[in-house]
Amino acid sequence: MSSEVVIRPSIDEIKSLMRVERLPHIWCPSCGIGIVAKAYVEAVLRSGKPVDKHVLVSGIGCSSRMPGYIKLDGYHVIHGRAIPFAVGMKTVKPELEVTVFAGDGDLITIGGNHFIHAIRRNDDVNVIMINNYTYGMTGGQYGGTTPPGSRTLTSPYGHIEGSFNMPLFVASLGAPFVARWTALHYRQIVDTILEMFKVDGFAFLEVVTPCIIYTDMNRMDAVSFMKMFRDRVVIDHNADLRDVALSVDPDSKIVVGKFVSRESESFQTKYRRLMEKVMGDGSG
């Protein structure tokens, strides 16, 4: 492990990047989204890149409200389409550090097609997915990551569909960077986002933080929520990703870690090289 001294930003520095005039936020008490918001802000401040070059893009849902509270260029677009917006922006302005912040329903249910193709192209964007297992903003319907067996507003007799095991899914598509943490792992989330900023390609972080209002975690308070994570989490960077699916079983483990980190060259880097060649030698 590195022994370098980390200077964390002060609370005033964090606040300087928050739209404090918009508080109180819309997130429910004990929701994990705010923890990730703060971790992102800390990572931005420690990134070494000019703050004004960081851009946030989101779609629709609880998690997608994050740009509304962070004082950066932020774009809250339509449901499921944050990735293509981010890709358009990053492609034409490479100096931007573009991060997509999304819930599971937005990102890989309605937005699934854009998600898989952005990984295939290896677009140079950072994607942070809050996995709360549900559609919170609309009252708790099941989505693409809802574990089988869950009772939701639209699966009142128990969910009989399968769910995505996100780390396996994303790694299998060839993404160069894949990690998973929970809302308990603030420092690890900050470190992981800092690594994601350096990846030239599609960097994916799943943060497990089940909705405590609309899932079987019903109305769990913040402390027991964190205790639940502490009891169930196993850190294993080398986990076999076939074994990391999330379950409703209260005794099941939540396997977290930095699962994939490999050499990568993004579509955007390749395109710029192609463009320079075409412009330089007059071919085409």
Partner: protein, 384 residues
């Protein structure tokens, strides 16, 4: 030719409509194209893929039309002129995002090379059935500007104009072409560059702490883009002048009035049409796009046979140039609307002309009505 000098040179060319559209877009400053394959617009994406890297621009073929249009909204918010091209089914998929572009005041250009509909319809054959969709396809109240080219020359000219209008008013603009105009090969003249009007982004002049992205002191507020330090918040939600979501009723009416007012208050500046022998006409044929060329021949033939007929060619669908239609209607003239659909522009004409004086030629078989068919209809109307 080396970098920076690879725009199409001023001069006279023999070009396909879709290709003329691409060259016009590049001269207008388009440097990003996101698209998805669809007939009969494919020449546009194929040419963009070849041409954009030559001029320092970016091309991405996306996974669908939704991603295509959303990507150009993203690129435009990074300050780059951006465009997509499609046809009916793809245009349907883009509707939600057109509303977003309108709401967050993002200039984009969408070229719709129409084919026969509904549904998959007639992919390789001509249609004009998207006339209403260009204004009413997305939910809620919004305004677009829609140009109606009828030649490769206008595919060139109107694409440039579309970019200018988009960036002048910060709105989505549609070039509503059709399969025949898109595929037709004709003479296209590229003027000297200094004769071509190019409109660029209105940039903020105030420092970030004084900047309001949706400042209601402006009809069209200056536009900050990502990475400039203005730290904007843009959302498709109803928003205040800071861009922050709000459900305040007074704010919503103010926002809607300004957003719609950008086009409604400027409709007479934006709308375009042209007339042929309407002054003494008893019957005015209303047509647009490829149909206007067939209608012109029919009108000339009718004149040769002694019928007092004129042509009113729409060059913009929206804003619809209704005031001139009303003047002609006040003179007691009859109207015949000819379009490749079963009745769309005719509904708009009926808003401004007494019902019994508006005639229609329902026609959507996948080809343009030939002049003889239009002439027969003219005779039928005037022979009553």
């Amino acid at each position: 030719m080396k970098n920076g000098s690879r725009l199409l040179k001023p001069g006279s060319y023999f070009m396909r409509g879709n290709n003329a559209c691409v060259e016009g877009a590049l001269i207008a400053g388009c440097r990003f194209f996101g698209g998805y394959p669809i007939t009969p617009s494919n020449e546009i994406s194929a040419m963009m893929a070849r041409r954009l890297p030559q001029v320092g621009g970016y091309f991405i073929q996306f996974e669908d039309e939704i991603a295509s249009i959303v990507s150009i909204i993203g690129a435009a918010n990074a300050g780059v002129k951006s465009m997509t091209a499609t046809s009916g089914p793809g245009f349907s998929l883009m509707q939600e995002a057109i509303g977003l572009a309108f709401m967050i005041e993002t200039p984009i250009v969408i070229v719709n090379v129409q084919r026969g509909g509904p549904s998959t319809g007639l992919p390789t054959q001509v249609g004009q059935g998207d006339f209403m969709q260009t204004h009413f396809g997305s939910h809620g109240d919004y305004e677009t500007v829609v140009y109606l080219p009828n030649s490769p020359q206008e595919m060139f000219d109107m694409t440039i104009k579309a970019f200018n209008t988009a960036w002048r008013y910060r709105v989505p603009v549609v070039v509503l072409s059709d399969q025949m105009v898109g595929h037709m090969i004709e003479k296209v003249i590229v003027p000297e560059y200094d004769e071509i009007e190019i409109v660029d982004r209105i940039k903020p002049e105030v420092p970030p702490e004084k900047y309001l992205p949706f400042d209601s002191n402006y009809l069209v507020p200056p536009m900050a883009v990502a990475g400039e330090g203005y730290r904007v918040h843009l959302t498709g939600l109803a928003h205040d002048e800071r861009g922050y979501p709000t459900t305040d009723h007074g704010n919503m009416m103010k926002l809607l009035n300004r957003l719609l007012g950008k086009i409604r208050k400027n409709e007479r500046k934006i709308a375009e049409w042209e007339e042929y022998m309407t002054d003494d006409a008893d019957l005015v044929v209303v047509a647009f796009g490829i149909t206007s060329r067939s209608a012109l021949k029919a009108v000339k033939d009718a004149r040769d046979q002694g019928y007092k007929v004129g042509l009113y060619r729409l060059k913009t669908a929206w804003p619809f140039p209704y005031w001139r239609i009303r003047e002609l209607a006040d003179e007691g003239k009859e109207f015949l609307v000819v379009e490749i659909n079963m009745g769309q522009a005719v509904r708009v004409v009926r808003e401004y002309v007494p019902f019994e004086r508006v005639h229609h030629l329902p026609w959507a078989p996948g080809k343009c009505p030939p002049p003889e068919v239009i002439l027969d209809k003219i005779k039928e109307v005037l022979g009553r």
